[in-house]
Symmetry: C2
Subunit: 180 residues, 2 copies
């Protein structure tokens, strides 16, 4: 039992949820992400380059959760000044293809990219209209409602997105102050 517990701890986190043990997959370590990319590069007969390594490093190790192309470009430029936008775009496309990154669009016309935390991960977003802060959340109940609605419509759901737009704690306090 204890040995099993430690084995499970290796690949997941354990949480008590409504009296049940819930297994939450562990976030991919850096090395595993790099391996995914390298494997994909070999499999598809692509090439490993300095630029790709630097973009990888900046995207997965130094930048935050929701990054614009501009932010990544500026960040990479500090390490490798000859970098071009096209390479950033092409490399992000590569990350998407091998399942390491997701592209998001929150309606301001510029795509945001986020590292995928573990295989098959899904989460949704709270987006602050004041300070543009983005909070991630996951909610099983919403997922199952959605699937039920889909079934009623004979729809085969591949993925979904739920975005809640509003004001975060500090922004709504400021709003009320400004209004009152």
């Amino acid at each position: 039992m204890i040995i099993y517990y430690f084995y499970v701890k290796l690949i997941t986190n354990i949480k008590i949820y409504k009296g049940y043990l819930k297994l939450i997959p562990k976030i991919k370590p850096k090395s595993e992400r790099k391996k995914s990319l390298d494997d994909y590069i070999v499999k598809k007969h692509l090439k490993s380059t300095t630029q790709r390594d630097i973009i990888f490093d900046q995207f997965f190790n130094y930048l935050g959760q929701h990054v614009t192309v501009d932010e990544l470009y500026e960040s990479v430029k500090r390490q490798y000044s000859r970098i071009g936008y096209a390479t950033i775009y092409r490399t992000l496309k590569l990350f998407k293809e091998c399942g390491l990154a997701h592209e998001r669009n929150f309606g301001d016309g510029r795509a945001k990219y986020e590292p995928v935390k573990f295989d098959g991960e899904h989460h949704d977003h709270l987006i602050c209209l004041g300070c543009e802060k983005i909070i991630e959340f996951a909610n099983n109940e919403i997922e199952s409602c959605s699937l039920r609605v889909a079934r009623l419509n004979k729809f085969d759901v591949i993925n979904h997105k739920l975005e809640l737009y509003g004001y975060c704690d500090s922004c709504s306090v400021n709003n009320k102050r400004a209004a009152g």
Copy 2:
């Protein structure tokens, strides 16, 4: 009681839902929509023009639920050949401002516009990745879950969007045939 029933019928539809009477606001009739627009035009010291009338008519009376700017442009052009894209964009912006239309973006880079059915209406979308069909739905449970999540994060939600991407009945049948 009967008089009350008829009064309620005037402004809503009545449906039995889990044993309760449920009041569903009536879809705005054409005339009321036109009045909203005209009132807004007067209030804001704007002007009523032929172009606006034709765009209004095409958008609310002849086209479907999810229309691109291109579709609306082509449709209006048949009635008024000198129309320009700028006028379409500016008029749709006007419709949004007076709460008559919503802008949607389902990720293909072109906005889609839909008439608002009644004041404060909200619905979500099932989007078929095969035939691009869009199905609307509303689900109270999802709404309340969302609000609960928001409250947990001390978020003041202004609006939300939920989009389920997948394959509709006929497209998923075709997919399975193609795959098998």
